[in-house]
């Protein structure tokens, strides 16, 4: 069970500081898995960006907490003319390594579902755009499609109105 957050309050700021601390632990992990290291390093930078932006623009923060109140995924969202744009999205650092204590599955998926609902409520028919950094497979599986913009490793991807409707129906 997840709970959506639509503002960065004092608790969120404190939880984002916990994330930053946890990224340090992740960055010291002993592994030969270069892909995992790349994800850890990217995740750490994204968390810095989310934390910095959440301080300046708290109303743009979106997050997901689990039933214990742990912040499990976070994003910065910008309202555009006809869609919501995901400036940054990251999962909690412990969600990159399944053996870590706070690991939980499906937090990013749940966060995207809540942003799709928000896009729908704001009159954008669920439309969302994201530049998927090394994670196009995940977004494609959710129903996003490449717009043709961006690069091979970070394509710009859109969740169309039709795909958003389907996603919301599946999640009822």
């Amino acid at each position: 069970m997840f709970f959506a957050i639509d503002l960065a309050d004092a608790l969120v700021h404190s939880q984002l500081r916990e994330w930053l601390f946890a990224t340090t632990t992740n960055l010291n992990v002993q592994t030969n898995d270069l892909e995992l290291l790349r994800r850890i390093q990217t995740n750490a930078r994204l968390i810095s960006l989310i934390q910095e932006t959440a301080l300046l623009q708290p109303a743009d923060f979106r997050g997901i907490r689990d039933e214990r109140g742990t912040l499990q995924a976070g994003a910065i969202v910008t309202e555009m003319n006809d869609h919501l744009y995901l400036d940054y999205i990251a999962t909690a650092p412990w969600n990159l390594i399944p053996t870590l204590p706070n690991y939980c599955q499906g937090a990013a998926k749940s966060l995207i579902h809540s942003i799709v609902r928000e896009s729908s409520d704001r009159g954008y028919n669920g439309r969302i755009i994201v530049d998927a950094v090394g994670s196009a497979g995940f977004y494609r599986k959710m129903g996003f499609v490449e717009t043709g913009e961006g690069s091979v490793n970070a394509p710009e991807m859109v969740l169309t109105s039709e795909a958003a409707k389907k996603l919301m129906e599946e999640n009822v």
């Binding site: 994800r39 599955q105 995207i112 950094v133 497979g137 995940f138 959710m142």
Partner: protein, 86 residues
Amino acid sequence: MSEVLTDRTLEILELETGAMGCISPERHQHRWFQKIRCLEGKITAAQSPEEKIVLEQQLENINRIESKKAELIVDIYNLNSQIEPS
């Protein structure tokens, strides 16, 4: 690679990719310039020297923060430039 990934569940893909998204360096730079243009307009229209000083400090802060963000964003894109597309 993408054909292999279609067999994975969403939860596995979330773990394997980190579900990460980040504004492109070009789009970030465009937004940064928009913010600067907006503030420069306000500085020009400032009604008093005090107001102008406050706005100039804001401009300095924005440039400092966005410059730091730009470095992190470029870093993210460089880190992910060599991977096999998912």
